[in-house]
Amino acid sequence: MWKWKRKEKQQPEKQQQTKKQNGSLSEFIQAMQQSEDFVHYKLSGSTRCTISYLKTMSDSKILNRSVLSILNSESLHTLHDMRERIPVENIRVTSKLELIEEKVMFGYIMVQIHEKDEEVLLVPAVSLESRDVGIPEVEFSVVGPKEAFVETLNTNINLIRKRLPLPQLTVKETNIGKVTKTRVAVVYIDGVANKDNVETVEQRLKGIEIDQLTDSSFVTQVIADNSNSPFPQLLDTERPDRVVSNLVEGKVAILVEGSPHALTCPTTVVEFFGASDDYFLPWHLATAFRLIRLFAVIFSVLSTPLYVAVLTYHHEMIPGALMATIVSSRSDIPFPPILEVIVLELTIELLREAGARLPTKIGQTIGIVGGIVIGTAAVDAGLTSNVLLIIVALSALASFTTPVYQIGNTIRLIRFPFIIGAQLWGLIGVSMCMVFFIGHLIKLQSIGRPFFEPLYPLRIKDLKDSFIRLPFNKQTERPVLTRSEDTQRMNPSRVNAKRDIDE
């Protein structure tokens, strides 16, 4: 039944498209003239022609210096002559309406000999307003490169290409979005990336049915293997160096025009807890920090649920001395632990949300005012206990240790089911919730590759760069996850060649 409905829907679409094709160039110009920024006039110098362009999209320098000066000084009568003479690269002569429409909308200058001519000359004069390449703000690192992607696709590809001067680095582009026609690029290293992965990504991108694509996060949500999951199944990063190292591992990157984030896939849940910093530090330190981060995440998810579980059902578990502390801090509180926890967790979420929406400087103030003032006041008023305040604040802090922002959001959210589980059946409820999430993670896939790897399927080789990071000379092979066509990163025998004393 659904297929039949879909077919019905598709038919009018086709009709629309054919209508568009039937329209003529003059209709297009008429439609464009309704906008104030569309310039359309006849040139009556030595060359007679009609020029039209969008003044908000075209670069006036190119127009004045290269196009108008030539047209005015020389007498040219055919479009081909003009193409020869005008000193701008990539000029086209075409009569394809679709191409003309697309190019004019991007800022090309259209030149016609007569106003009614179907054949036109298209001069690229695109002026792109873009921000300068800045420092990464979401994934900041103390050491290492400090370039971040910007909103222009070309600049972003430039940032990648200059780090990977390889002929095998392949960039494939498509336009996605019925209305926005956004440029989307798939980047991979040919011969290193697995062909199936590239194909899957390309197919999924082709299959996207959406009207607008304003950011790469749209792509994450639409092409995810399971779009009902709270876990992001594509890694998004604003660091070109991270994308490059992922490409070298054999992964595929997706870049979207207008988005300062690149997506890489296939990815695993463990990868979200790795930072670029890990590769800039000696491996023991990196390993220690990774483990701290992992512990922080576990703490962040489990601490308040455990508080609820233990204080509601299992008081016996707390040793006497510790119990005295907790009892004295909780003695005046009129609420059961669950209410206390939910109120405080929501307060923290509120602060976080407010802090994220406000400009940086006010945001900080709000954070401090909210955190300290509300926190102390709540304890003084006897609404929450000191112990819980510490736990909640710590778990909020711990959730910020994740280097990728997207997974931080997930961690914020998934502790609430745990809290409910804890209220229902104490520790057993917590562990039931945990089983559910582990099962969910095992089920998840990223571009058809297991998301819970290297834990399940257990791949010892990939564990070398997951919870721990072993030195580079131990990582002579690309991860099994990517199923790379060229598994060797470097020659292991040369890397690990043993030297004798004094040699």
Binding site: M317, G426, F436
Partner: protein
């Protein structure tokens, strides 16, 4: 791909197969269930503190049965359903397969009710079983609907999470008396053999290999992993039994229903006491693979016999298990169910050699004709 896949329903695509090493986790996590929490009592009743010998004997017997199962499957052309069909024909074979289905369901059911009983005795005496069982079975459904790979993953996680629990054995050893075990071998051989029969019940679960065998990539290579799995289980049982013997006296142990859980009570850290709550909560990870694999195996048999959709079967079986779970109450009834599944398991284990003999004979007869 397996070359033995020649019949319909056994052509399992490569991406649903698991590598041979996972058989270790599948076998081990299926064997260890709720039994280990309190099986010492039943052993001691028969053989006293010599029961550890029975565990070793039982482990040895299980290795032999495992070898038989592999022999059976090697030339069997797939799983138990296929074997039954080739020996007994379509109808009798199908019926026997359905008996296996009932047995697998019963195993899952037994584990489920025993675990709920543990929770009721130790954590929440007034728990509403109907809510808890519903949520737990929903969880089981969610996992089983993910297919065999997900269940294997749960088995793996369960073994990994079970490891730290094993370290807790240190506390009772520290508090116990090692002299308890001596004198070694003071009981009669019938006593020890009786305890062997009891302990074999705790080893039940490897017969699931009969149904998930086609899901193993290069199944022949999984042999050694399966044997490692049984060996690992034997070792864990042996350690648990020895630790329990060190901790309790013989007379005391006969009174304790849940020996291992009672021993957890003495675990003490500066920030946590009464470790049995944590232990029981973590035991969910050990119990779930049992229920999931049990239900998966049980629902796969109707799929193979009648060619029905397994996902509907899982829902039906979950509902079918749900109501008895809610209705059953009290230790005596649970004991009855436990004994029943133990008896059936015993028959199943005894049936395997018979099946092997029949299979060999029928193969030979067929070769001649």
């Amino acid at each position: 791909m397996n070359k033995l896949n020649n019949s319909q329903g056994l052509n399992i695509p490569e991406n649903y197969l698991v590598t041979p090493a996972y058989v270790f986790f599948l076998i081990h996590s299926m064997q260890v269930g709720v039994g280990i929490l309190g099986f010492e009592k039943y052993l001691v009743e028969k053989a006293g503190f010599d029961a550890w010998i029975s565990i070793l004997i039982a482990g040895g017997i299980l290795h032999v049965i495992l070898w038989m199962i592999y022999r059976l499957l090697q030339n069997g052309g797939g799983d138990i359903v296929e074997i039954h069909k080739s020996i007994f024909g379509k109808y009798l074979g199908g019926f026997l397969s359905l008996l296996f289905c009932a047995y697998f369901t019963l195993l899952a059911f037994t584990v489920l009710i025993t675990f709920i009983e543990v929770i009721k005795v130790w954590v929440f005496p007034g728990m509403h079983v109907w809510v808890f069982a519903f949520v737990l079975l929903f969880l089981v459904y969610y996992l089983v609907s993910g297919g065999f790979r997900v269940i294997t993953g749960i088995c793996l996680i369960s073994v990994i999470i079970g490891l730290p629990i094993l370290l807790l054995k240190y506390f009772p050893v520290e508090a116990g008396h090692t002299m308890n075990i001596y004198p070694a071998v003071s009981h009669s051989i019938p006593g020890i053999l009786g305890a062997t029969k009891q302990s074999i019940l705790s080893f039940l679960g490897l017969e699931f290999l009969l149904i998930y065998y086609p899901f193993i990539k290069n199944p022949q290579k999984s042999k050694k992993w399966a044997h490692y799995g049984v060996f690992y289980t034997t070792m864990i049982y042996l350690i648990s039994v020895l630790v329990t013997f060190v901790y309790y006296s013989e007379e005391q142990l006969k009174q304790v229903v849940w020996g291992t859980i009672s021993a957890w009570k003495i675990v003490e850290f500066p920030f946590i006491e009464r470790f049995e709550f944590v232990g029981i909560a973590m035991w969910l990870y050990v119990v779930l693979p049992n229920i999931c694999l049990g239900l998966w195996g049980a629902t796969r048999i109707p799929k193979r016999v009648f060619n029905v959709k397994q996902k509907y079967m899982v829902i039906i079986f979950c509902i079918a298990i749900y109501f008895p779970t809610v209705l059953i109450d009290g230790r005596p009834m649970i004991d009855v169910v436990n004994n029943l599944s133990g008896q059936l398991g015993m028959y199943v284990l005894m049936y395997i050699p018979v099946l092997l003999v029949l299979k060999t004979i029928s193969d030979k007869v067929r070769k001649r004709t």
